[in-house]
């Protein structure tokens, strides 16, 4: 089953990150990604620009509304994600525990609701 990890953390630590810091962070996540790949459970990952660069859009109130900034204004912001393929939630949690973000943020683990083989109407 596919699980997505949403990684939430306080972005302030990265506010003055140097090139060296970025390289070290990539390396740390690289080790984790390599382990996911070696275990054959890796599907996808992304690392996002800080939440202050976010733009939100909605038509739900009738008119198009575009806003500068993230959807929710909270201390811990969405900073990245992983998608992995493992048998069950226990296995997903075992991997989430090893994710670097777990040590300094919060990981929301969500199972996929997509039908097997993807959305059948998507062609």
């Amino acid at each position: 089953m596919r699980y997505t990890f949403f990684l939430y953390s306080d972005e302030t630590a990265f506010a003055d990150a140097s090139q060296e810091d970025i390289a070290q962070t990539l390396k740390v996540y690289g080790t984790y990604i390599r382990a996911l790949k070696d275990a054959g459970v890796f599907v996808d990952t992304d690392w996002l620009q800080p939440s202050m660069t976010a733009t939100t859009l909605s038509l739900k109130d009738g008119a198009k509304k575009i806003q500068d900034g993230p959807f929710a204004d909270s201390k811990e912001q969405l900073g990245g994600s992983f998608v992995i393929d493992v048998p069950d939630l226990d296995a997903a949690l075992a991997w989430a525990e090893k994710c670097p973000a777990a040590q300094y943020g919060t990981i929301e683990v969500r199972a996929s609701a997509m039908p097997e083989g993807g959305n059948p109407y998507a062609g």
């Binding site: 630590a13 003055d16 070290q24 390396k27 080790t31 226990d90 075992a94 670097p100 300094y104």
Partner: protein
């Protein structure tokens, strides 16, 4: 770099490695806070690299560094604005430094070792427990925040921020760089040992990723031995140092050439480090004379019993099961209970081991990898292949350590063959 400055750099590096914590401890015992002691020492090292190639390596490099660092602090206090980042000291300071180094600090024994005070401050109950280990690695051993962060698989800035906060807390809360009162010692020491144990357990993916982790988890051996030297009559400190020594003695045997995990009882003992094993046994024997068995001593005793295979030629599972029973009595964890069941299964028979495991079944073991790996093994020993297979699959799904995955994959494959 010419030969001379290469030699000086090598000497400075050597002093840095061996004495970093001693020097920081001296500076903080003289009233500096950790952050300013670190800054002053970094300046002193920079000065050493400039002046030692020119004037020669001082008789007592440590004394020289401490004196220069102290003067740097006075300097900084006097006129923070007046000095530049690279800094400069007047000649008088250097004459003083050289004289100090040659006289009262000439004997290494004269150089008081205050590292224990520093270690206790790092693991003070007012400091967030998760920072104890990194703080110790930085202030006692001189690792950079980014190196420690890499060992934790954590981004550098996050750990750097925590370290800065912890040092500020030590300073602002007025945490003293003194040894705990005798009444407090046991409890305070427990936190210190826990922090060292934390450094020792930093080994996830260790062997496929020979990064600083390798270095840093091996520093646990150094730190645990250091605490025993500074506090020679603490049985649990000896127990932890023995435990870490046994574990390090076997690190080369733990993973084979194909990158597959090798269970302890299948290790090629010729790859064990006999010197470290003897050292562990000596420390454990000394700990036993205090007649105060506790967690680390029992864990070390279990490892020692495994190491006895070196002489006995086989593992005495009965002894190991008894030690696990003792461990469960004083430190009841899912880990010790699973260890007990595994040893019992080997000592008595797989059904007995499975019965001991069945008691544990529940919420706590649902996602606990050692439970499933042990259950799978015992079911297979019992010849119950239809149940062993899903247990192996469950264990494999919970395994994030790649060499262990390979080992479980092999076991699973063997079962499919045996089943036919």
């Amino acid at each position: 770099m010419d030969r001379r400055s290469g030699e000086v750099r090598a000497k400075a590096d050597k002093v840095a490695r061996a004495s970093y914590g001693r020097l920081i401890a001296i500076l903080v015992s003289n009233g500096a806070d950790i952050a300013s002691a670190e800054d002053a020492l970094a300046d002193a090292f920079a000065r050493a690299l400039e002046t030692w190639p020119r004037d020669g390596i001082p008789t007592n490099p440590e004394g020289w560094l401490v004196t220069v660092a102290r003067n740097r602090r006075k300097d900084a206090a006097k006129s923070a604005a007046a000095r530049t980042a690279s800094g400069s000291l007047d000649d008088e300071d250097f004459i003083l430094a050289e004289r100090a180094a040659q006289t009262d600090m000439q004997e290494p024994d004269h150089f008081p070792d205050r590292r224990l005070n520093l270690i206790f401050a790092c693991a003070h109950p007012a400091i967030d427990a998760q920072v104890h280990t990194p703080l110790m690695l930085q202030t006692v051993l001189g690792f950079r925040a980014s190196e420690i962060a890499s060992a934790y698989l954590m981004p550098g800035p996050v750990l750097a921020q925590r370290l800065v906060r912890a040092k500020r807390k030590i300073k602002q809360a007025g945490i003293a760089f003194s040894l705990p009162e005798p009444d407090d010692l046991k409890q305070r020491l427990a936190a210190v040992l826990e922090a060292i144990y934390g450094a020792y357990s930093l080994d996830w993916q260790n062997n496929q990723n020979c990064d600083p982790t390798q270095d840093i988890s091996s520093e646990a051996l150094y730190l645990s031995t250091l605490v025993c030297e500074l506090l020679p009559d603490e049985p649990e400190a000896l127990g932890l140092a023995a435990l870490i020594a046994f574990s390090f003695a076997r690190r080369d045997a733990r993973i084979d050439q194909q990158g597959v995990y090798v269970p302890l009882e299948a290790h090629d003992v010729s790859r064990w480090n006999r010197f470290l094993i003897r050292r562990g046994q000596t420390m454990l024997a000394k700990a036993a004379t205090f007649k105060a068995p506790a967690r680390f001593q029992l864990e070390a005793a279990i490892q020692s019993a495994h190491c006895d295979r070196l002489h006995l030629g086989k593992v005495d599972w009965q002894v190991i099961a008894q030690l696990y029973a003792g461990l469960m009595a004083i430190a009841p964890t899912a880990g010790s209970a699973v260890g007990y069941a595994a040893a019992l299964g080997r000592a008595v028979g797989p059904q007995t081991g499975l019965a001991a495991l069945a008691v544990l079944e529940g919420e706590e073991t649902k996602g606990f990898q050692p439970y499933w790996a042990t259950r799978a093994y015992l079911l297979r020993q019992a010849g119950d292949f239809p149940h062993a297979r899903p247990a192996y699959e469950k264990a494999l799904s919970l395994t994030t350590h790649i060499p262990s995955r390979k080992w479980l994959e092999n076991a699973l494959e063997n079962i499919l063959h045996e089943n036919h």
